[in-house]
């Protein structure tokens, strides 16, 4: 066990830190922030993705052959630490990197990897995920979106829902039914769908935060070339499980932890400067107890991920630990945002745009967004089933 940087890790960290100091706008995180408008923010994040790529910081643990850096999960952990420290923005192509890229690295053909991976890293192609449907939420294997094989292409008909970033995406990974007669897990295939294909309609869905990050996506006789299947025909369930393992896994969680850590630091700074009655808010002993739990749990998110990284690097297999990581971070983050809003006391109701709002209403927005954490990527109830059955070997 050693948390010190090796000489090469230190060199990586130093180089990244230097690069970040140059790449971030002057006054970033102090006076300059992300745009408030959703579309402008998406463009800003896409630009940031491209900047990271141009600097050589995209796909840190991906093979060089596909445009990655060819480093290990350790470097990606250092990357996360430095991003948190510099309060760097999120990217836009998260699904492309974390879900699509990793799935193709496992199951894609060489031609598919060559075709798609470099453009994911360069953020020339943004991806969305077409898994959930109105009738297939936690029971994902009951998807009904149909793909029929006609000669050299599939014809896709049906509807997907909660399609995050569909409006900004060039491509979509979709779980579709190719054999309606087979048992439900055995009639599914995994397709790569060009979002420019005729017959695709996107309808934005407004979320409780007021934002429209996700959408309903309709497929109406959409033609998908047969070579866009990943894995075998009717073998899509296994591929989707790989995607989900990464969606819930430590790489994804560590990326999210960056933002929680940034907002935690921001909260602590704000509360140190905020006075209520006779003293500083941060000195309120009752609040401090809750802040300590938030500090602890956000640090434990990171440590859980690092432990799992080391396990993988030392030859351990991916397993239900992804569910454990996701269940922990999602509930811990919700507790953190509960605390963050409560800490503001009488100012808690004031959101972005109000002149007395704290940190431009960021904590209220995050609080609302956080309600989704325990639902997406597999609801907590599903994660608990997985942990109970696969980790604890409890009967079904």
């Amino acid at each position: 066990m050693d948390f010190r940087d090796s000489p090469s890790e230190l060199a990586f960290r130093t180089e990244l830190r230097r690069w970040l100091a140059e790449a971030l706008p002057q006054g970033w995180g102090e006076t300059v922030f992300e745009p408030q408008d959703e579309d402008e923010r998406a463009r800003f994040r896409l630009d940031w993705d491209r900047k990271l790529h141009a600097g050589g910081w995209a796909g840190i643990y991906w093979p060089k052959a596909y445009g990655g850096r060819g480093a290990t999960l350790v470097e990606s952990a250092i990357f996360a630490e430095e991003m948190a420290r510099a309060r760097a923005p999120d990217g836009l192509n998260i699904i492309g990197r974390n879900l699509v890229g990793t799935t193709l690295l496992h199951h894609g053909t060489e031609a598919q990897r060559q075709r798609y991976l470099p453009k994911i890293l360069s953020a020339e192609e943004v991806w969305c995920q077409g898994f959930s449907e109105p009738g297939a939420g936690s029971d994902l294997a009951s998807v009904r979106c149909r793909a029929e094989l006609h000669g050299n292409h599939f014809v896709v008909n049906g509807q997907k829902v909660w399609t995050s970033f569909a409006q900004y995406s060039q491509w979509c990974i979709a779980l579709v039914r190719t054999d309606p007669g087979a048992p439900k897990h055995k009639g599914l295939s995994f397709l790569l769908i060009d979002m420019k294909s005729p017959g695709i309609t996107i309808r934005p869905l407004r979320q409780i935060s007021g934002e429209c990050e996700f959408n309903e996506t309709f497929f109406d006789d959409v033609q998908v070339p047969v070579e866009n299947i990943v894995g075998e025909l009717n073998g899509g369930w296994q591929i989707a499980m790989t995607t989900l393992a990464y969606e819930r896994g430590p790489e994804d969680a560590l990326g999210r932890q960056i933002r929680f850590k940034q907002e935690l630091d921001q909260l602590l700074v704000a509360l140190s400067g905020l006075r209520r009655g006779k003293g500083r808010v941060v000195d309120d002993p009752v609040l401090r107890q809750r802040l300590a739990l938030a500090i602890t749990e956000i640090e434990l998110m990171r440590l859980n991920c690092l432990r799992t990284f080391s396990k993988y690097l030392n030859g351990g297999q991916r397993g239900p630990d992804a569910s454990l990581i996701k269940l922990f971070w999602s509930h811990a983050a919700q507790r953190f945002y509960d605390t963050a809003v409560e800490a503001l006391g009488p100012l808690a109701p004031l959101t972005a745009g109000d002149r007395a709002s704290v940190a431009a209403g960021r904590f209220q927005l995050s609080y609302l967004q956080s309600r989704a954490f325990t639902i997406y990527s597999g609801a907590s109830e599903i994660q608990r089933n997985i942990i109970g059955e696969r980790m604890l070997a409890l009967p079904r």
Binding site: V74, E297, R307, N385, L394
Partner: protein
Amino acid sequence: MNFDFDEQQYRFRDTVRRFLDNEAGTSSAENRLWAGLAELGLLSLLVPEEHDGLGLSAVDAALAVEELGRAMAPVSLAATLAAADTIARFGTVAQQRRYLPAIASGSLRVGLAVMEEGAGYDWRDLATAVDTRNTVSGDKILVPDADRCGLILTAARFDDGRFGLLLLDPKRPGVLIEPHQTLDPDTRFQRIQLDAASIAQDQILGGGPSEKSLGHLLDFGGLLYAGMLIGLAGKVLDIAVAYARDRVQFGKPIGSFQAIKHKLADMAVAVEAGRSAAYYASWAMAENAPDRARAVSMAKAYCGDVARQVCNDAIQVHGGIGFTWELGLHRYLRRAKVLEYALGDAAFHRDRIVAETLLALDRERETVAS
């Protein structure tokens, strides 16, 4: 970066587990247990090589300490390990020579006398004092196995107002040991009354007051208690899971019901997060990392909360049988409860976590600004 133990550390854990599994936790076998663990090398682990030890660190001890918690081994083992590391780092050469080989061989058991009735967990509030005639007076509570210890590491204030540690011989005049009545009789907590007990110069750790040594002892002890707590929690989780697989109601194993399955899943997540906290703290302690205090406080507060919660939930999963004396789940709950309050409860450590975090944040902002 590597957040994993090495093969040797895992092997040592397995050896300790096998040994403890074979030993029944009865008081008659207690001396044998102590001798056996010494033979396996547990007690020499933290003793430097020049004093007949293995010269290893808190990281090497972490998994074994978890096993001690699982097996409900004597708390005084953790106290003795914390004392060994503290004496090795802060004792004079003569003190090291006198005590460390004896600890390593298993012949010297050490008690930690820190807490007092009138003080909280901040050592600055301790009233036990050494006066100008070099005698110490005060009233220490909750010292595990004090009557079986050959040395009591005692926190005290010196006449210059600074604090430090005394290497107290419990057989000397002026030292009165009496048993407490406690929630966990197995821990064998004792009260130590000090009534003008004389202190020779060589009975002051390092030869004089040293708040650093006291801080080190408290952090090391807190770390080891956290490790015991998470080991205990892991064991109780295993017991509850095994029961849920076997116990049938409504014609099915109760572990198939989501109400039970989900509770057990939450317990498993908490235990794993507690391990992350305890393992990281062991490294921060071994390396005296800048965030040592925060890491130890996180581990102690978090693992204490997890252990209590896991014990509570395990009793619930067992239903009526869980509440019986005979089944024995209460022994784990009792141990978890007393360790929870030893060397800082969660409230104390949480406040320290915030204080340390704010300090670190200030320092970081200064570096970024400069």
